[in-house]
Amino acid sequence: MLPIVSLTLFLPLLGAIVIMCHRNAAAEKVHKIGIITSALTLLGAIWMWVRGVVDPGMTGKGFAQVEQIDWMPSIGAAYRVGVDGISLPLVLLTALLFLLTFIYSSKVRKQPQAFVVLMLILETAAIGTFTALDAILFYVFFEVSLVSMYFMIAGWGHEDRQRAAQMFFIYTLLGSLPLLLAILGLYLGGETHTFDMRVWIENPPLEGGAAMLVLIAMLFTFAVKTPVFPFHTWLPAAHVQAPAAGSVILAGVMLKFGTYGLIRFALQMTPEAFREAGVVVLIFGVIAALYGAFAALAQTDLKRLIAYTSVNHMGYIVVGVAIAALTLDPEIRAIALDGSVLQMVSHGLVTGALFFLVGMLQDRAQTREMDQFGGLLKTVPLLGWSFVLAAFASLGLPGLAHFPAEFQIFLATLREEPWAVIVILGIVITAGLYLKAISQVFLGASNEKWKTMPDLDRRELLTLGPLLFFIIVLGIAPSWVLNMVHQTTIALVF
């Protein structure tokens, strides 16, 4: 059988190598290679989806399409990749967002080669993080993504980029090193010394106090990455300074490393300890969701506002995972996890669209201060209506992508820990802040300064179209993703 997971995983890296070999290629050609490579990667991801997350003869337990090669047999590390219903939707999301980012960035003329190479390396790292089934491999991809994002922000960001990039790198490295500790703990705790994540999931190697310590280390890592209040301070700084493409990938893909890790590592490898600590995680999730919403309300910079709504949306996912850890009823657990995974996908699509739109606005106006605008809906109707649609999706309007996800999370919360459903207040606040933003930027008296602002061009429509399409499709018919997720979540046993 064709090793389609590995092919998809290393295709972007291959593209990067091709570009590096053509040192003097023109910018257009470089961008073309980037777009073609990421399009092929998306095809690979779709192929993986067609093959499905259940291997013939299995019942949805474990992983499908596993590919394995010896790497460091002396210490039990191997190259192992595969997918299940939790990781495959994220791989599809990653491949789609990268393709659109390449299309959007095809106008970049500042060192285009380095830009495309970094983005392609980042794509391999992102897909690798979601498909790795070996803890060392996971960690390697996890860290490589940090390095490439650091150079992305430092090289192509806005005014204060150096400081923001350093803060991002050091902060998230501080965040990810406890994971290394946890990985070593699980490795040394197991009967057979291996880094095979499947073995750890099948038979959690630690219990009692040791498991709790490992869990705390992992929670720290993923809380920084997600990010959960009070570990979120790197996020606004990084987003504001990052180029639009960087923001889309950071919010759309890299934040999911945190919540994906929360499920894959914390929930699946230390389930008992997570159940004990579940209420604490739940409280953190509730606070993060509410804090993110309130903080977003206070912003005047459109990009910061969207960055803070990410804290809010990711908070719901943490709530969902915590509920899944707390509950003993497999049905509630499946609902909570289905909602969480779908929320990751929805957030990637919606926030991706919003960051693209802010980037497009900034390209035109060189500012993101909301009070500088006004009445843009008349001047640039396409951009305006796209923003309105994405904003409505982001505030959880039924019929758009976030609704089915958040609905399931709240449903599970209500059945397991009813008090925690106060988190629903977050939706009210987000609704308020988006309406405020829309009225300030797109409604009201139009500002003379922007009379000549051009509307979306072909490249920008091509970037946004697929995102808006999927936002609607996921809102109306989420089942084609949910079925895939559900096959795995219903089979989970703790």
């Binding site: 002396s74 390697v140 390095v147 350093q166 490295l173 500790l181 070593l184 040394l188």
Partner: protein, 457 residues
């Protein structure tokens, strides 16, 4: 006897090489001296290969041919060759070029002796031999800075060696022998074991530049030619660390040695990086970074006897450290000694930029580079030995280290205020090849550590 000689053949070849180079230098033939050095060291490396897997001792147990000492040869001899290329590039054509080669080969020999020491006297011999060569090398340029650095180095060495020999008399008194393998007797007298061990840590800690015995290192590296600093930051350090591992192998685990090592490790890692944060001179910055890296090595030493990963981690990290540190110093030779000189280098010379970034990220322990695999194994070894708290401190220091190394990365990609001013980088022959080799090795060891791991066990 004949068998002993056969087992020590690589060391003997190194010694003969030194003698031959000395003769060539006396005949004022620096070119020949250089080629003889390279050929001799390469030959010694080849002759080490058949010894792989051997577990023996030579000359009535005083010298060990074991995993550590064999890998010390396989790592340090090629590393010395790379250093010699750098030295040739920097000092080639100067009046006493050949003497530098002789001294370097002698220090390498001393480091190999330390790495295989089975006897306290051999340990002392190794330290003194390495010391004598190092003073002369540091003083090579005959500038005020170099002379001062060499003087500090010399005084410091004399004191630490004196203290070490004094402390070793306690071990001799306790065991009635100078052999390390007799140290197990000290199980019933932990105080005696501890006193002797502190003395050994002082002696070897000075060679490996561990805190608080590191004071000489920044001055010596800064005063010496860059290529000599590169050499001194790698070869004697690894030799001393391996010697420490040889010593603790035979110490009773219950004695306090693990705690002494742990304290020194914490001090070295933390102080090294904190001090590096304030440096403006890149050589001094890397000097302090090498102090901190020595602290990381100790995580492997601490696990000797209680974790099978101990030797593997020490060896892999040594190879990684040699590749990335020599590479970083080679880049400094090409670019310059100040942070100022690194401004905009990454934009003007993409390859140099990429190479330096790889070396620095590897030093910080970012995957998938060599430094990561080495540190990962070290952490695993220390955790298995029950020193999880030490690993936590090491991990916190890794974050600090990133801040240190980014201090070099950031200016490399900062557009200089005046774009018209472009740094001139003279391409020095040989230096380019050295950092390129370092780059390949840093990436290769990172991705294919199994290549090393498989042949170690």
């Amino acid at each position: 006897m004949a068998n002993d000689l056969a087992l020590m053949l690589p060391e003997i070849i190194v010694l003969l090489t030194a003698v031959a180079v000395l003769v060539a230098e006396m005949l004022r033939q620096p070119r020949i001296a250089f080629f003889v050095s390279i050929a001799g060291l390469a030959l010694a490396t080849m002759l080490t290969l058949p010894l792989l897997g051997e577990q023996a001792t030579a000359f009535s147990d005083t010298f060990r041919i074991d995993t550590l000492s064999i890998w010390a040869k396989l790592i340090l001899l090629p590393a010395t060759i790379l250093s010699l290329l750098l030295v040739r590039a920097e000092l080639g054509g100067s009046a006493r070029e050949g003497t530098a080669y002789v001294l370097i080969i002698m220090i390498t020999l001393a480091s190999l002796i330390m790495a295989g020491a089975g006897d306290t006297m051999l340990l002392v011999l190794g330290i003194l031999l390495a010391g004598l060569g190092s003073f002369a090398l540091v003083a090579y340029p005959r500038t005020d800075a170099a002379t001062e650095a060499a003087m500090k180095y010399f005084v410091f060495a004399s004191v630490t060696a004196g203290v070490m020999i004094f402390g070793l008399t306690y071990w001799f008194g306790g065991t009635g022998s100078t052999l390390l393998s007799e140290l197990v007797i000290l199980e019933k007298s932990p105080a005696l074991a501890a006193i002797g061990f502190i003395a050994v840590v002082i002696g070897l800690g000075y060679k490996a530049a561990l805190v608080p015995f590191h004071f000489w290192a920044p001055d010596a590296y800064e005063g010496a030619p860059v290529s000599i600093a590169a050499y001194l930051s790698v070869i004697p350090k690894v030799g001393a660390i391996f010697a420490l591992a040889q010593v603790v192998r035979d110490l009773p685990v219950e004695s306090a040695w693990q705690w002494i090592i742990a304290v020194v490790a914490v001090l070295s890692m933390t102080y090294g990086y904190l001090a590096a944060l304030g440096q403006q001179n890149v050589v001094r910055l890397l000097a302090y970074s090498s102090v901190a890296q020595a602290g990381y090595f100790l995580l492997g030493v601490i696990a000797v006897g209680s974790s099978p990963l101990a030797f593997e981690s020490l060896i892999v990290f040594s190879a990684a450290y040699a590749a990335m540190n020599l590479g970083a110093f080679a880049i400094i030779m090409q670019v310059g000694r100040t942070l100022e000189a690194f401004k905009n280098v990454g934009r003007q010379f993409p390859m140099i930029g990429v190479a330096m970034v790889v070396f620095l990220l590897s030093l910080a322990g970012i995957p998938p580079l060599a430094g990561f695999v080495g540190k990962f194994l070290l952490f695993g070894a220390a955790m298995e030995a029950g020193f999880t708290w030490l690993v936590v401190i090491a991990i916190i220091n890794s974050v600090l280290s990133l801040a240190v190394y980014l201090r070099i990365v950031v200016p490399m990609y900062q557009p200089s205020e005046n774009e018209a001013i472009t740094t001139d980088i003279v391409t020095i022959p040989l230096v380019r090849q050295v950092w390129f080799a370092g780059l390949l090795l840093t990436v290769f060891i990172g991705l294919a550590a199994q290549f090393l791991l498989g042949s170690i066990s």
